[in-house]
Structures are given as structure tokens and as C-alpha cells.
Amino acid sequence: MVRNLFQLNKNRKAVSLMIGYVLLIAIAIALSTAVFFYLKLYLPSNNPECDVDIKITIDSVFCGTDDDGKAVIKVNVTNRGLFKIDGAFIKIGDVGRTFKTELNPTRDVYDCDDLSDRFLNPGKMFCFTYNVDNPTTLQGNKEISVQPVVFVDNNPVLCSDAVVSKTVVCT
């Protein structure tokens, strides 16, 4: 009886050794892939950041009426850092208020002496005159702020630590 059982057991078919290994490896790879993609969501990504040597200054601001009687804001900004700047957010608002109105929606900056460039190299000055649609809102003390933008891997990156501001009296 025991002998019969033993022989019966010997004749049993199971998966081959090779298929067993393949199955084990496939399961291991599938599990590790699933865990990788799940945990990848929780990994901090390498966000592009501005270099610390990006610096700008507001050289001069004029807020008033020009020779033609139009209300304008003239801004001169110089790149004092070590790298080129690809754009800037230029905003104006009440002194002491965080809320400011954007002056340049296109964010363009370029060298005053070379208008073909769409960026501002170190040491170069950007100068532009913005027309003011509603001059009554721009009276008295105002604050103008400029925040540089650089492109990293074709993505715009704002330089949070390089914001500069200046107070101007609008007449």
C-alpha cells in the first residue's frame, strides 16, 4: 500500500524547474516594478532652481506723463549677476502692499543696445516704457518690483530670492 502510494507520488507531474524559476523571477520583477512606481510618487523631485548668483538692480524708475502727455512708467533694470536672465516679472502697486499689478505680461527682457537678443546678459541694461491705461490708479507713492526668470531645460524658473523693489513717486 505504502509502496503504491510512493509510486503514485513519483508519477505526479508538476511545473518544470525552468518554468518555476521563470515564474519566480517574473513575479519578483513585477512586484519590484509596482513598488518602484508607487514609491516614485513620494520621492522629492529635482526641481530646477535659480542660481544664487543671479542678481538684478532697478537703476531708475519714472512714473508720470511723458512729453506727449501720456501716462507712462519707464523702468531701467541691469543684470548685476553672473548669468543671463531670460525674462522678468515687473509689477507695480501701493507701497507696503503685497498685491501688485503686472506691467509686462510677456515677461520679455533684452539689452537696450541690442534688441535682437531676447535675454539680458550680465552687465547689460534693460530699459522699457510701459503705457498706463488708467493713470488715476497710479498716483502718489508706489512700489515697483522686478523678479527675474531664467529658463532651465526650456522651462521658466522664477528666482524667488532675487526679487528687487524700489519706491517711486507717481506724478
Partner: protein
């Protein structure tokens, strides 16, 4: 001598089943530590909250607002801000109440600033607020407004 045990195949199957069950138990247990994850871009939204950079100001008197007070947000970082949750500290009660929880007139994209009236409260000098950003994120197929953890907020004292 002829003692019988489980066959190698059964043993292997048993091992795999035990490992899978243990793995499932550990996964379900560990998931409790990781909050239900909404995703922004290619990672969980909590990670984006760390990268939000903004300036905030609570202004006592703004002519455009009926009660006079308003909250200004200036987005100086690289993450768009959908809205904010504003908590007002009550020193005497030792608590913080939500006084504003919502969006502005539109998402405050990078480099932009926005302002909203705080109609439900009166603001006085010395009042202390905690302003926490809200971000748009995807949860399964839905877009949700995710409120960042309070640690990612800014404490603002009215002057």
C-alpha cells in the same frame, strides 16, 4: 524512513502564497502612514506643497472690500496657487479658526499676485493669521483643491 512530507511544488506554492499574503498585510498597514495621495504632475501633491513660495499680507483697510480687510497673495515660486485657507489665532481661547477657505478670482499662476476680500471677519492690528496654500491636484480622475499641511503655510501678523 518512508515518512512523507509536502512535495516541492506544494512547498513552493505555499511559500509564495505566504510571501504574497505577508506583503499584502504590510502594504495595507503601511498605507495608513501615507495619506490618500492626490497627484500633481508626476508626484504626490504634498511634495509640491514644499515648493510653494509666496508672500502674504492681510490688509486692514482696502477700499474695494465691504468690511475693509483683504488678503493679498504674491506667488513668487514655481507652483501655481489655487487658493488659500486662512486660520485666525485666538490667543485667549488657544485655538485657531478658519476664517477663509477658498479660491481667488482665478488660479494665481507663477509670478502673479491676487487679492481677495475677507468679508466674514473684522481685522485689527496685532491679529495673527496662518495662511496655508491650496493647490489643484488629481485624485483618480477628479481634479480637487488640495489644502497643503499647515507647516507649509505662512504666519502673518497684521500691522
Amino acid at each position: 524512513m518512508l515518512k512523507r512530507g509536502v512535495s516541492p511544488v506544494v512547498a513552493t506554492v505555499l511559500l509564495i502564497v505566504i510571501v504574497v499574503i505577508l506583503g499584502a498585510i504590510i502594504f495595507i498597514w503601511a498605507r495608513g502612514f501615507l495619506s490618500e495621495s492626490a497627484v500633481k504632475g508626476d508626484r504626490v501633491v504634498e511634495s509640491s506643497c514644499n515648493d510653494v513660495k509666496f508672500e502674504v499680507q492681510i490688509v486692514k483697510v482696502v477700499s474695494e472690500c465691504s468690511t475693509g480687510s483683504a488678503i493679498d497673495i504674491n506667488n513668487i515660486g514655481n507652483i501655481p496657487i489655487y487658493g488659500v485657507k486662512v486660520l485666525q489665532f485666538k490667543e485667549d481661547e488657544g485655538s485657531a479658526d478658519t476664517v477663509f477657505d477658498g479660491a481667488f478670482s482665478g488660479t494665481i499662476t507663477v509670478g502673479k499676485s491676487s487679492s481677495a476680500c475677507l468679508d466674514s471677519i473684522s481685522v485689527n492690528s496685532g491679529d495673527k493669521f496662518r495662511v496655508v496654500p491650496k493647490l489643484l491636484a488629481k485624485n483618480e480622475d477628479r481634479t480637487i483643491a488640495y489644502t497643503c499641511p499647515e507647516k507649509d503655510g505662512i504666519t502673518e501678523t497684521v500691522v
